[in-house]
């Protein structure tokens, strides 16, 4: 092996570690928000509005990332905002993965007409512009935490279903599965003990990618005004609020934007890394 190839896994690991660190930091912020945020994220202080970040003239240590158009501390809002973003991301992944994997296993294992029908459903879903569907559903039925999670899961389940279906189709022809069938092990038990464990690694890989995408989509939906309740500080809502001041106070949008970008980057780095670990051949 050339030195290049020896270096590669090392660099991948480093990037993966960086991604994991970012995600852990974000998760830490979300869990510890009440203790680490310096201010109440909704406390208005009209006389201290539009204060720039501390490293710019006029900024102060009291508001390290500055204040917004109503004098609310941006650092505190970004920290509290991580709660909504991550909660939505994790919940969307869990719901999406459960639905998608179940459908994928059923379609892949039983094949035949069941597979045909489910494949049509998967393809129909794939051909639908997701963001349009999301805006339509949320505008019609109203936003909020669970509606957003549901809509994001609705967009994500096909990814799981496709990957899991492919995986199951190759696993079910393995000798140990045939062996289990021939000694009369019940189908449910075969699925649980032999098929499901084999699909876990691709599910984890898809999950880490799709969590990053769910966070991004939540921000986009909140930005468009159909996301989680607008009175909570969420990153997308902050972006939307700050948009009118883009030219006079860039930090209103830059800070939540940076938070979104970093978290999504963390998720993607982690995803790449996991993909390499579980399946080095696909990784390249």
């Amino acid at each position: 092996m050339s030195p290049r190839f020896r270096l590669r896994p090392g660099r991948r690991d480093t990037l993966g570690l960086i991604g994991a660190t970012i995600l852990l930091l974000a998760a830490g912020c979300a869990l510890l928000a009440p203790w680490i945020a310096p201010h109440d994220p909704t406390a208005v202080s009209l006389l201290a509005r539009m204060k720039p970040p501390m490293w710019i003239d006029g900024g102060s240590l009291a508001h390290p990332l500055g204040t917004d158009n109503l004098g609310r501390d941006i650092l505190s809002r970004v920290i509290w905002g991580s709660r909504i973003s991550l909660a939505v991301g994790v919940a969307a992944v869990i719901v999406g993965a459960s639905i998608g994997s179940t459908i994928g296993i059923v379609a892949g294992y039983f094949g035949g007409w069941i597979d045909n029908i489910l494949s049509v459903v998967i393809n129909a879903q794939l051909s639908f512009p997701f963001i349009l569907l999301a805006i339509f559903l949320l505008a019609t039925f109203g936003g909020g935490f669970w509606p957003v999670v549901f809509v994001l899961a609705l967009g994500a389940w096909v990814n799981y279903a496709r990957v899991v279906r492919g995986m199951v189709m190759s696993v079910k022809n393995q000798d140990y599965v045939h062996a289990a069938i021939s000694v009369g092990v019940p189908t449910a038990r075969i699925l649980r003990t032999t098929v499901l464990p084999n699909t876990l690694s691709p599910i984890v890989v898809v999950a880490s990618f799709s969590m990053a995408q769910a966070i991004l989509a939540e921000a986009a939906l909140s930005f468009l005004g159909v996301g989680v309740d607008g009175s909570n500080p969420s990153w997308g809502v902050m972006l939307n609020d700050g948009r009118a001041y883009l030219q006079t106070a860039w930090w209103l949008t830059a800070m939540p934007g940076l938070a979104i970008a970093l978290t999504v980057l963390g998720g993607n780095l982690c995803g790449d890394w996991l993909q390499d670990r579980f399946n080095p051949r696909i990784g390249n």
Binding site: L47, G71, N159, Y245, L246, T248
Partner: protein, 509 residues
């Protein structure tokens, strides 16, 4: 596809903000705007209906109706009536007004304007559904329209009224035959009037184009074409103004008004008349609001002066009464910012721990979200548990009309100087009384005042009415809406405080 689509959206969002930035910085003013004498007016909302008898907001619906139709009298920016389709008028006795009408006026479909046309229009206004919008009959007590000859008409009211000319300024006249013989949605979409402009096209939620009426009886307007465009974002309206793609930008908030200033445009401040308030719905989800003490507590809880300094750039003043100066009762005492007193009043009313309260706002007034969030923050300091909720504009209007807002709501009323009209808004069951306030003593005073022709006596009654309603506090009193427009420097026009925009009076250089 989930990944792809959402990241593409994110890219587009970034792109569009980059484009907006570049546009603002780099685009030169296109010259066609001047060559063809087109005036483009950018507003936050679209026109609702072009049926002249369904006029329910000053801008942009009102501005377009004022451009297409004529009323008997025009209301000047300071509230005084001027001749329009009526050339002169006089009082025959306490209850009879005689109007002399302009001769030689035709509607754009060829129908002639005469006394009969006025009668037909006034009769239509008094039938459903128009009678819920048009207040000519309700507010003046108009009971008879008598055609004397082709160009003379008498209006007879039930009792003496001081409001006839005010309401006539908003009673627009359309071609009578067309109006009565066409389907309602045709009338609402294809207006036929006698005003300086006529409708060329209307793409809903995008743009409405007016072109000059060649047969207009008055002085021909300077611009041949007027385009009313819908640009919901305040910052986008300002970007367009600076780029030269819009000549007038309406609904600008003071805190970003500075962005209107450029080589070719500037911000114009007009002393506002509209009384902004958080309406307090007595019939909403929160029964505590029925108690006047609670409503007074809300007023004491919010620091209006600080909000004006910080959020409105100090560009306005708190409202002194529900009636605009100079007709306000000077003895009314403002509700000073006093959280302790607010808490005490809440405790006295039986709510020492506050109560949940929904604050609703719409896109009707720029900055509604900020104001609602700030008020929420002040209210939570005296123990109330507020929730801020955005409501879509159409739904918001419906809620106001049905008195079905949840708790308190951000609103502004009566950008005018006419105490009688300003007071009537809060009488029991009035179409604009969205707070459900109802006080018979107040109603009696307002009615009596509007029928009193003696100035001193009327003023006394109006002062009494003002005092009653002020202390009953059906509103959380805020400020007079600072009216800020962005205007291209090559247009000469005095913008009005009541937000009506009259493109036919604009001079383009």
């Amino acid at each position: 596809m989930f990944r792809k689509t959402s990241s593409r959206l994110a890219r587009q969002l970034m792109l569009s903000s980059a484009v907006a930035l570049t546009m603002a910085a780099a685009l030169p003013a296109p010259t066609w705007a001047q060559d063809n004498e087109t005036i483009t007016i950018a507003s936050a909302n679209d026109v609702i209906s072009l049926d002249p008898h369904m006029l329910n907001s000053n801008h942009p619906t009102g501005s377009v109706i004022w451009s297409i139709f004529d009323s008997l009298v025009r209301r000047a920016p300071d509230g005084t009536p001027e001749p329009r389709l009526a050339t002169s008028w006089e009082r025959m006795d306490d209850v009879t007004w005689r109007f002399h009408l302009r001769e030689g006026v035709t509607f754009t479909n060829g129908e002639p304007f005469n006394a009969e046309a006025v009668k037909v229009n006034f009769e239509r206004m008094n039938t459903a559904p128009f009678s819920t919008y048009q207040q000519l009959h309700d507010q003046t007590g108009l009971k008879e329209v008598n055609v004397i000859d082709d160009y003379t008409i008498d209006l007879v009211t039930e009792a003496p009224t001081v409001n006839m000319l005010y309401w006539l300024a908003e009673a627009f006249i359309s071609a009578p035959k067309y109006m009565t013989e066409s389907a309602p949605d045709k009338v609402a979409n294809e207006p036929v009037g006698s005003g300086p402009y006529k409708l060329e096209s209307w793409q809903r939620d995008d743009r409405l184009t007016l072109t000059v009426n060649e047969d207009y009886w008055g002085e021909a307007p300077d611009a041949e074409t007027v385009v009313f465009r819908v640009v919901p974002e305040t910052s986008s309206r300002l970007n367009e103004l600076r780029a030269g793609t819009a000549d007038i930008a309406v609904d600008i908030t003071p805190d970003i008004a500075g962005q209107a200033d450029s080589d070719i445009s500037s911000a114009v401040y007009v002393e506002g008349l509209r009384k902004m308030h958080m309406g307090i719905n007595l019939n909403g989800e929160q029964p505590a609001l029925k108690d006047p003490k609670v409503r007074q507590a809300l007023n004491h809880a919010v620091d209006v002066d600080t909000i004006i300094t910080a959020l409105l750039d100090g560009k306005t003043v708190p409202i002194p009464s529900i009636v605009n100066p100079p007709n306000n009762n000077p003895d009314l005492k403002r509700f000073e910012y006093d959280p302790e007193k607010a808490r005490a009043l809440l405790a006295e009313a039986g709510y020492p721990d506050g109560f949940p309260l929904t604050i609703q706002y719409s896109t009707r007034y720029a900055g509604g979200k900020e104001v609602s969030e700030v008020v929420a923050s002040y209210l939570s300091e005296v123990g109330i548990q507020p929730t801020v909720e955005a409501v879509e504009l159409g739904q918001f209007r419906e809620m106001l009309a049905n008195t079905s807002t949840k708790g308190i709501y951000f609103m502004g009323w009566a950008a005018l100087i006419n105490p009688s009209v300003e007071l009537v808004i809060l009488t029991c069951g009035h179409v604009d009384n969205s707070s459900g306030y109802c006080n018979e003593e107040y109603d009696a005073l307002v009615k009596k005042a509007s029928q009193t022709l003696d100035d001193a006596e009327r003023k006394k009654l109006e002062f009494q009415a003002q005092e009653i309603v002020w202390n009953d506090a059906p509103w959380l009193y805020l400020w007079r809406l600072p009216v800020v427009f962005g205007k291209a420097n090559n247009i000469t026009y005095d913008l009005r405080a009541d937000n009506y925009v009259e493109p036919y009076l604009m001079i383009v250089e």
